[in-house]
C-alpha cells in the first residue's frame, strides 16, 4: 500500500515537471542505447568466442601477424599436425586454407562466377559441429590421392545457382575449370571458416607433410575446438611447450622460427582470423572505452538532474524526516523517480538498439554486396546477453543515479533547513562533490569528443586524400582466370597464357570507341598496401629488418597513363625487358627522394628480403614514377614507398583499370562483352568505379566512425546539457553564499568573475584529466591508424576550445540569472 502511495507521489512529481522528465528519459535512452548497441556489436563481431554448434570455443592456430602487411600468415602444416597430434587440450583440430575459385558451366546463367572457397582437411565440419543439410560432409577417403574430386556447396549457392534443386547431389560442376561432384549442401547461414561458399577437401599429401617447408603454397591454417573447461591461456602454454620441443628438432635453415618476432605460430580466438579485426583491435578497445565513458556521463547527468530535484525539494524532505519517515522509506522514495526514469529510458533504449542493429545490418549488406566477403558472424542480432546487459546497466544506473540524491537527502542538516529555511548554502563536502561532478563531466566529455572528432577527421581526410591517380571515368575489376586453363607458370616462361590473355583483352578493349586505355595492377593506388623490407645492393643491413620498407606491386606495360600517373625520370617498361634476363623495377618519387637523396636512384639494384635469409631476385631501378599511395591514408599499413615490377615476368592475379568516356554502364557492358567473347570461363569480379574501389577498404572504418560520430553527437548533447545542468545546479546550490557575498558588497561583475574563475579552474582540471586519457587512447589508436596533424589540431585544440566555450556559457548564464535577483531573495531562499 505504501509503495503505491510512493509511486503515485512520484508520478505526480514527474508530471508536474514534464521537461525535466523528458530530458532525463532521453538522456537515459541515448546513453543506455548506445552502450547496449556497442556491446552487441563488439561482442558479436570481436569479443564473444565463436562456438557454432559446439559448447566450447573455436580457436585459430596460425602463423605470425605481420604488422607491416596488416595480415596474418599461414603456418607450416608440419607444426600444425604436431600440435593436432600431441595436444591434450584440444577436442578436434582441422587444417585448411581459403581462397577463391571459379564456378562455371552453370545451367541457369551465362558466364562464370567467382566463389569464396575453403580447402580443408576432411574433418572441418566435424570441428565446426555442423553437418550438411543435404547429402554428406567429407570423409577421410575424399582426401586420398586419386579420390574423385568432390565439393560441398553453401545454401546460398544452392539457392542462387541451382534453384534449390533437391536432386543436386551427384551433379558434376566445373570448379576452376575442373569437373567436381557435389556431395552436400550446407545449412543456410553457414560459411565457416568465414566467408566460404564452396568447400573442397585438401589432398592428404598437402596436410600430412613429413618435413618442414617454407613454401607459401604449402602453408595452412589450423582451427581447433577446445575441450570442455580448457581456457585459451592453458592451450597457449601447451602449444608453447609443444613447439619448443618441435623447434629443437628443426634443421638449421628453419632455426629462425624459434625466435620469430611475435612467435612463428599464434593461438587466438577464432574471430581474430579476420585481419581487419586484428588490425583494428585497438580501435575497438577505444570504442568500448568511449562507450563506457558515455555511460558514466549519462549516469552523472541523470544523477545530477535528480540531485538538483532533491535540492529543490529539500525542505519537503526535511518535513518528511521531521514527521518521522524512516531512512529506508526515504531512500526508496528517492529511488522511485530514478526507477521510473531509467525504466522508461531503458524501453526507449531497447527500441533504439533494435533500430541500430537493423541499420547496421543494412550497412554491412552494402559494404559486402560486391565482395560477398562478410564473415558469417557479422550478422548482428539482439541476443539474450544484450537483455542481461541492459537490465544490469539499468540496475547500475538506478543505483548510481538514485543513491546520490538519497544520500543528499539523508545527510542534509534538516534541522537547519527547517529552522532557517535555507537551502542555498553549500556545505564543504557537498561543495567538493559538486566540483568533482563538474570536473568529471568535463573530463569525460572531452575524451569522447576528442576521440570522435579525431577519428571522423581522419576518415574524412582519407576519403578525400590524393592517392596520386585520377579516379574519374575509371572502372576497375578483378580478372579471375581458371588455373586449369591458365596455369601459374614460373617466371622462366615469361609470356604466359595468363599475360597473353591480359594483353589481348587490353588490345580488344582499346579498339572500342568509348575506351581510352586499359592497364593492370596487382593493387591499384589507393588500395592494397602492406610493406616488406628490401635491401639496396652495396648498402645491405646486417639484419634483414633493419633495411628500409617498400610496397611491391606489379603492373602491365604502358600502365601509367590509364591512371594519370607519369614517368618523371628514367623510362617505362618496354619490350626490351621481356628477354633481357634482368628484373626491372620502377619506384615512386617519394621513395626515390627519401632513399636516394643524391638523385642516383636509376641503375641501383634492390631486392625484397625476409626472415630466414629469404629474398627475391635483384631488381634494377629503370624509372621513377609520380607519387602514389597504396592503401587508405589513415591505415598504418598503407604504403607511401612503392616499387613496381613488370607483369610480363610473372603470372600474378591482376586488377584491371579502364579509362573510358561516356557512361559508366556502357563501359562496364563493353568490358563484360569483351571478356565473354574471349573466354566465358574467365570471371570478372567486383566491377565498380575506381572511387568505389578506393572507398571499399574504408567502409568498415567508416561504419565504426559512424558509431563514433553517434557517440560524439550523444556526447556533445550530454556534455552540453550535462555541463549546463551541473554548472547551473552548482551555482543554484550556492545561491545563499552568492547572496552573502553580494550583501558584503560584491557587485554583479565581482560575482560573475568569481564564478567564471572557479569554473575556469574546474575546466582546467577537467581538461587536464580528459586530455591525458585522450592522449593515451589516441596513442593506442595510432598503432593501427595514421592520424594526421589536422586531426590532432581539431581533437586536442578544437575540442578543448569547444568545451571551454560550453563551460563558460554554462557558467555565465546561471551567473547572470542569479545576479538578476536581489541579494535579499538569495538570503531567504527556501
Amino acid at each position: 500500500m505504501t509503495i503505491w502511495i510512493d509511486i503515485k507521489y512520484m508520478l505526480r512529481q514527474l508530471t508536474n515537471k514534464p521537461m525535466f522528465t523528458l530530458i532525463s528519459v532521453l538522456v537515459v535512452a541515448f546513453g543506455l542505447g548506445l552502450t547496449v548497441y556497442t556491446y552487441t556489436l563488439l561482442t558479436q563481431i570481436v569479443f564473444k568466442p565463436l562456438t557454432l554448434q559446439g559448447t566450447t570455443p573455436l580457436v585459430a592456430i596460425e602463423g605470425e601477424f605481420r604488422e607491416k602487411h596488416g595480415r596474418g600468415q599461414r603456418a607450416d602444416p608440419y607444426h600444425l599436425n604436431h600440435i593436432s597430434a600431441e595436444s591434450k587440450l584440444i577436442e578436434r583440430m582441422s587444417l585448411y586454407r581459403t581462397g577463391s575459385t571459379i564456378l562455371s558451366d552453370l545451367d541457369n546463367m551465362t558466364g562464370s562466377k567467382k566463389l569464396h572457397a575453403s580447402y580443408s582437411q576432411w574433418n572441418l565440419f566435424e570441428v565446426a559441429g555442423v553437418q550438411p543439410q543435404l547429402g554428406r560432409g567429407f570423409s577421410p577417403a575424399d582426401q586420398e590421392v586419386g579420390a574423385d574430386p568432390v565439393v560441398v556447396i553453401s545454401h546460398a549457392v544452392w539457392a542462387k545457382y541451382f534453384g534449390q534443386n533437391p536432386d543436386i547431389l551427384g551433379t558434376s560442376i566445373r570448379v576452376n575449370g575442373t569437373p567436381k561432384q557435389i556431395i552436400g549442401v550446407m545449412p543456410a547461414g553457414f560459411s565457416f571458416p568465414a566467408v566460404a561458399q564452396i568447400w573442397a577437401p585438401l589432398v592428404i599429401t598437402q596436410i600430412q607433410t613429413s618435413a618442414p617447408s617454407d613454401a607459401y603454397s604449402a602453408s595452412l591454417n589450423g582451427v581447433a575446438r577446445l575441450k570442455n573447461g580448457v581456457s585459451l591461456s592453458q592451450l597457449l602454454s601447451e602449444v608453447d611447450s609443444l613447439l619448443a620441443e618441435h623447434f629443437q628438432l628443426l634443421p638449421q635453415e628453419f632455426a629462425w622460427r624459434t625466435s620469430s618476432p611475435g612467435g612463428y605460430i599464434r593461438v587466438f580466438p577464432f574471430k581474430y582470423t579476420d585481419d581487419s579485426i586484428t588490425q583494428k583491435s585497438s580501435i575497438f578497445v577505444a570504442l568500448f572505452l568511449v562507450v563506457v565513458l558515455i555511460l558514466l556521463l549519462t549516469c552523472i547527468n541523470v544523477g545530477n538532474l535528480l540531485l538538483a530535484r532533491v535540492n529543490e525539494r529539500i525542505k519537503e524532505v526535511a518535513i518528511r524526516i521531521a514527521l518521522g519517515i524512516s531512512k529506508e522509506r526515504l531512500v526508496i522514495q528517492m529511488l522511485w523517480e530514478s526507477v521510473f526514469i531509467c525504466g522508461v529510458g531503458g524501453v526507449l533504449a531497447w527500441i533504439l538498439v533494435a533500430i541500430g542493429v537493423q541499420v547496421t545490418n543494412e550497412v554491412l549488406n552494402g559494404i559486402f554486396a560486391l565482395s560477398e566477403a562478410r564473415p558469417f558472424w557479422w550478422h548482428i542480432k539482439l541476443e539474450s546477453d544484450a537483455v542481461v546487459v541492459l537490465v544490469v546497466t539499468l540496475i547500475f544506473m538506478v543505483i548510481a543515479t538514485g543513491l546520490l540524491p538519497a544520500w543528499r537527502a539523508l545527510t542534509g542538516d534538516m534541522n537547519a533547513i527547517l529552522r532557517d529555511g535555507t537551502r542555498g548554502a553549500l556545505g564543504k563536502i557537498n561543495g567538493r562533490i559538486n566540483k568533482s561532478i563538474v570536473i568529471t563531466e568535463i573530463a569525460l566529455s572531452s575524451v569522447v569528443l576528442m576521440i570522435a572528432s579525431i577519428l571522423l577527421y581522419t576518415s574524412f581526410n582519407a576519403q578525400n586524400a590524393d592517392y596520386g591517380v585520377d579516379t574519374n571515368n575509371r572502372i576497375t575489376a578483378q580478372i579471375l582466370l581458371p588455373t586449369s586453363v591458365y596455369p601459374t607458370n614460373p617466371r622462366t616462361n615469361p609470356r604466359t597464357k595468363r599475360n597473353d590473355f591480359y594483353y589481348q583483352l587490353k588490345g580488344n578493349l582499346e579498339q572500342s570507341p568509348n575506351i581510352h586505355s586499359v592497364a593492370y595492377f596487382t593493387s591499384l593506388p589507393g588500395t592494397g598496401g602492406g610493406s616488406s623490407h628490401f635491401e639496396i645492393l652495396g648498402k645491405e643491413a646486417l639484419v634483414y629488418n633493419e633495411n628500409p620498407l617498400w610496397n611491391f606491386e606489379v603492373v602491365s606495360r604502358g600502365a601509367w597513363e590509364t591512371v594519370a600517373m607519369k614517368i618523371i625520370a628514367g623510362r617505362d617498361f618496354d619490350e626490351r625487358d621481356l628477354d633481357s634476363g634482368e628484373s626491372p623495377v620502377i619506384i615512386n618519387d617519394s621513395m626515390a627522394r627519401a632513399l636516394f637523396p643524391l638523385g642516383d636512384a636509376l641503375g641501383q639494384r634492390v631486392r625484397t628480403v625476409d626472415e630466414g635469409d629469404w629474398h627475391t631476385e635483384w631488381r634494377t631501378i629503370v624509372g621513377i614514377v609520380s607519387d602514389s599511395v597504396h592503401g587508405p591514408t589513415m591505415q598504418a599499413t598503407s604504403a607511401w614507398h612503392t616499387g613496381y615490377g613488370l607483369m610480363d615476368l610473372r603470372s600474378w592475379t591482376m586488377e584491371l583499370v579502364v579509362h573510358y568516356s561516356g557512361s559508366e554502364a556502357q563501359a562496364m557492358a563493353t568490358l563484360h562483352k569483351a571478356v565473354a567473347d574471349m573466354d566465358p570461363e574467365v570471371t570478372l569480379d567486383q566491377v565498380q568505379s575506381y572511387e568505389q574501389l578506393i572507398a571499399q577498404p574504408m567502409r568498415l572504418i567508416d561504419a565504426i566512425n559512424t558509431i563514433f560520430l553517434w557517440c560524439g553527437l550523444v556526447a556533445l548533447v550530454l556534455a552540453a546539457t550535462g555541463i549546463y545542468a551541473v554548472s547551473a545546479n552548482s551555482i543554484s546550490l550556492r545561491s545563499q553564499e552568492i547572496a552573502t557575498r553580494r550583501a558584503l558588497g560584491a557587485s554583479n561583475g565581482h560575482v560573475v568573475r568569481f564564478l567564471l574563475k572557479e569554473a575556469g579552474l574546474q575546466l582546467t582540471a577537467g581538461l587536464i584529466v580528459g586530455m591525458s586519457i585522450s592522449i593515451w587512447l589516441i596513442y593506442r589508436i595510432s598503432q593501427s591508424m595514421l592520424i594526421g596533424g589536422g586531426g590532432f589540431a581539431i581533437g586536442l585544440v578544437g575540442v578543448p576550445i569547444l568545451i571551454s566555450v560550453m563551460v563558460l556559457i554554462a557558467t555565465y548564464i546561471p551567473s547572470k540569472k542569479i545576479t538578476s535577483y536581489e541579494p535579499g531573495e538569495g538570503l531567504r531562499q527556501v
Binding site: A416, R419, D420, T422, A425, L426, G427, K428, G431, Q736, E737, A739, T740, R741, R742, A743, L744, G745, A746, S747, N748, G749, H750, T819, E822, P823, G824, E825, L827, R828
Partner: protein, 241 residues
Amino acid sequence: MDNSHKKILVELTEFTKTYFSKDLETRALNNINLKIYEGDFLSITGPSGCGKSTLLSLLGLLDTSTSGMYLLTGHNASHIHSNERARLRNKEIGFVFQSFNLISDLTVAENIELPLTYRDDLSKHVREEMVRMSLEKVDMAHRASHFPAQLSGGQQQRVAVARAIAGKPSIILADEPTGNLDSKNAESVMRLLEALNKAGTTICMVTHDPASAARTQRVIKIFDGEIISDKYNFTPTSVAV
C-alpha cells in the same frame, strides 16, 4: 529625545514595499518614515511576518522599495543601479545574519577579508591589518586560520560581527543575531554589539527577543508593515567587551 545635534545616517520617507505574485498583491511595508542617527543602537521588533526583516533588507540595500525615498549617509539610495548599491553596501553597511552566513571554504581570516577584497583601494597589507584589528575586537585572533565548521555557533557569530565591522561601515544591520545561539553565546554576542555601539558604531538589529530589544537604546515596533511605536530606552545596559 533630542537628536538635533546628531548626524542622520539613514532616512526613510514614505517607504513602501509591495510583493506581487500572479494574482496577489502583498504590502510588506506601508508608508514607513524613519531616521537612524549616528551612534544609535536600535532594535526592530514585531510578530512574525510583520515586515521587520523586509525593512532590514531594504535598509541593507539587499532589495529595492516599491516607492518612497531612502537616504543613506546623505546619498540617495533609492532606485540606484545595482553596482552602486553594491558599492554602498560594501562601504557603508555591515551585516550580521541569524545563520552567520560564513563561507565554509574560507578560513576565519579569509571570511573577514572577503568584503575588503571588493574594494579597489586597499592593498593586501592594509586588508590584513584591518582583519587583524577586527579579530582582536571580537577576541577571535587565535582562530584566524580555522574554518567555520571548526568553531562553535557563538564563535561563528563573533566572526560574522568581525566581518561586519572590518570595513568600518557607517551602520551594522543585524538580523536576529542571537536567534541561532544558546543563552550563553547570545549574551556574549549582545555584549559584543553593545561594546561596539559604545565605541561609536551604529547598530540596527531585528529581534524577536524582548530582552535583547530592551538592551538597545531605541526600540521600533512594527505591525502589519507599519511602525506602531518608536521609543528610546534611557538606560541601556553598559558593558565592556
